[in-house]
């Protein structure tokens, strides 16, 4: 019998003690949690509800920009701050930084929820590949539009204020925030899918028309699902922008062809539509990437394309899916006995 508690214990140790045991690897652990956040929130819509978005990265970038704009403009003139030569070079006091940071992250999350609802209302009439292409279009459009807005630095981007902590604590600070966010996201998703929401989401994935005919308010469920994903992506983007220290639209805020695709690839690798699949996929993907990447000498992107193709073409069910079919008694979908009784009666 495999105990889920052990898994949580192991992850908690990695998250809380990891940065102290391997202090040099704090940054990589922080990015690991970002990957976990991306994959698990993508899976809410992509895996569980059958709405495969290629544009969740939009929320990441929008959150990053919202937070940056708020952090600066709460205390200084944003236009002057982002002017090409840096017309003003303010020093943020500790209070200013932390108030700005907290407000920025919260605003990023909430702003992305609003955006998700608006986008949802315009995009949820699309199904399957149309939804994927539409959301990809949204992400590319967001990237291009961010590049035209002068006040947020256009293509030149924004240099973020410094975190006023001694250097040895800076990476740790972000690492802990990402861990907390990832844990929060995990438990929120877990809780959501233990409710009626999970059943409704899977019903929408399996046959949306029938689900609707059964009286499930599908649009409401889709909006809630996407908003939760957007909230966490927005917060992640906000913190990530601070961690990198420099924001620009093409590669940092809206990396459509890298992180935007990684999150899908990680979910597929681990097994989409499961709680643990995306987490497992993200951890494996990140470790493999960090350990082998620098030794591939310029071929890493070619290899990535190949991995994606092979994964999708030959290993669609992912690790969790494979385990479920191979060892159904250990990993298979178990049903709560109380529910089984009801089913038999029905």
């Amino acid at each position: 019998m495999i105990n889920e508690k052990l898994v949580y214990l192991a992850l908690a140790i990695l998250g809380l003690a990891g940065p102290f045991i391997f202090p040099d690897y704090t940054m990589q652990i922080a990015v690991l949690w970002v990957m976990v956040l991306m994959a698990s929130t993508w899976d809410i819509m992509g895996g569980q509800m059958g709405y495969n978005s290629l544009g969740n990265i939009t929320f990441f970038g929008v959150g990053m920009y919202i937070s940056a704009a708020i952090q600066v403009s709460m205390f200084y003139d944003l236009g002057l701050y982002t002017a090409s030569y840096g017309a003003i070079k303010p020093v943020f006091t500790e209070t200013q930084y932390y108030t700005g940071f907290i407000m920025g992250v919260i605003a990023a999350g909430l702003g992305c929820v609003v955006l998700a609802v608006l986008l949802g209302l315009t995009m949820f009439g699309l199904r399957g590949p149309y939804f994927a292409i539409g959301t990809l279009g949204v992400a590319v459009a967001a990237r291009e539009i961010a590049g035209t807005i002068e006040v947020i630095g256009a293509g030149a981007g924004i240099a973020m204020p410094f975190l006023p902590l001694p250097i040895e604590y800076r990476s740790l600070f972000y690492c802990m925030i990402f861990f907390a966010l990832a844990a929060l996201a995990h438990f929120v998703i877990r809780w959501m899918f233990a409710q009626q929401f999970g059943l409704a989401a899977n019903a929408i994935r399996d046959d949306e028309d029938k689900a609707e005919a059964m009286g499930i308010p599908t649009l409401k469920y889709k909006l809630v699902g996407w908003s939760v994903a957007a909230f966490f992506m927005g917060c992640t983007g906000a913190v990530f922008g601070n961690m990198v220290g420099y924001i620009e639209p093409l590669e940092v805020a809206f990396p459509v062809a890298t992180f935007g695709i990684f999150m899908v690839a990680m979910s597929l690798l681990g097994g989409k539509g499961t709680l643990w699949g995306p987490v497992l996929g993200a951890i494996l993907f990140h470790i493999v990437k960090e350990t082998t990447w620098t030794y591939l000498l310029g071929l890493q992107w070619v290899v990535l394309g190949l991995i994606l193709i092979v994964n999708i073409v030959y290993f669609q069910q992912g690790i969790m899916g494979w385990l479920q079919t191979k060892y159904p008694e250990k990993f298979g979908i178990s049903v709560d006995p109380s529910l089984t009784n009801q089913k038999e009666e029905a």
């Binding site: 192991a10 840096g86 070079k89 293509g155 030149a156 240099a159 890493q300």
Partner: protein, 409 residues
Amino acid sequence: MYKKYSIAFGAALAVSVAGVSGGAMAKVEGDTIILGSALSLTGKYSTNGFHTQKGYDFAVDRINSMGGVKVGGKSYKLAITYYDDESTPSRASQLTERLIQQDGVEYMLGPYSTTMTKAVAPVTEKFKVPMVEAEGASRSLFTQGYRYMFAVLSTSEYYLAPVLDIMADKAKAMGKNPADLRISMAFENDGFSLDVRAGVVEKAKEYGMKIVIDDKLPADLSDMSATLTKTKALKPDILLVSGHSKGAATAARQIEEMKIDVPLIAYTHCEAAKVQEKFPKSAQGVMCPTQWLSNLPKKDDYFGDAAKWNADFKRAYPEYKVVPYQTAQASAAVLVFKDAFERANSFDRDKVRDALAATDMETFYGDIKFAPEGNNIAKPMFYRQIQADASYKPIITHEDMVYPRKASY
């Protein structure tokens, strides 16, 4: 449905622990000083990433073969640890952190491009690691108050703005008012080009020149005919284009195709884009700013003068027919580090940093002396105009310049 998955996780964790073991190396191992650099070896900046890498490597080989770096009476060799930042800023900042924390690097050489440098500088600053960079020219890099970053090259406002100075003199000499000049400009939407643009805007304001077209080109735009059509309709006196090699090549091609007859045209990155070789018709009379000339009469003990560096480099890397200035300045950056180590006579980061700040030397690349902000103030930028016989003629005053340019469409 989610219970009991610890086998998979146990495996993942085991791999993760295995993956992160292996300790940090020291900054100076035995008799080797380790420098670190995250360079763009794949992705959109990789051509220039490789130019930079070869410049670094060439200088390291030369210094090592001539006795290395003498610190505390002992001779040390130089070595560089490279990572590939994939032309993405967030990767560059992560790898810099990795170089410093895991590989124990305490002295950094810069990445390629302003965009990457903007991502790397906060990290080196945070760890108080001195960095000499050779490829990030944006003015805005030097208004951030970075103390540990030093740049050997001239900053972005020297790329195209001085063309306006030359042009204003020309206008005066022709009995015209510089304020009547009209400018059309197209700049790529990235940190470097927008900073070049800011310099031009400032200078135009100074002279009262009017900017009639001010377009930003998206990074993946392969067509600037809209901008050029407008240029044709408005008939400005000056056309300025900046967008790395890609922008220069696209502009040159379409300027030729649309027979743009603006009397003065200037691009950045002419040489790197091989504008003259590929588009000889439209290239005639084009003004090109450059950081370095291969016949510059400056010299140092390691490379001799510019011409000798040029010849030696071509011998070491025969695949180069023309060596871009990006490579020369990379070599110069290594030379600056070597000089600073010897003057500091220590490997203490702050002593090396102070020695770097006090740099005042002549190299084949030009004089190097840093302003308190870290940019090199001793070296001028050079301007050349492409002539009918395909040669590049240095332009120092407006009298050297052919105006209006004669294009042979």
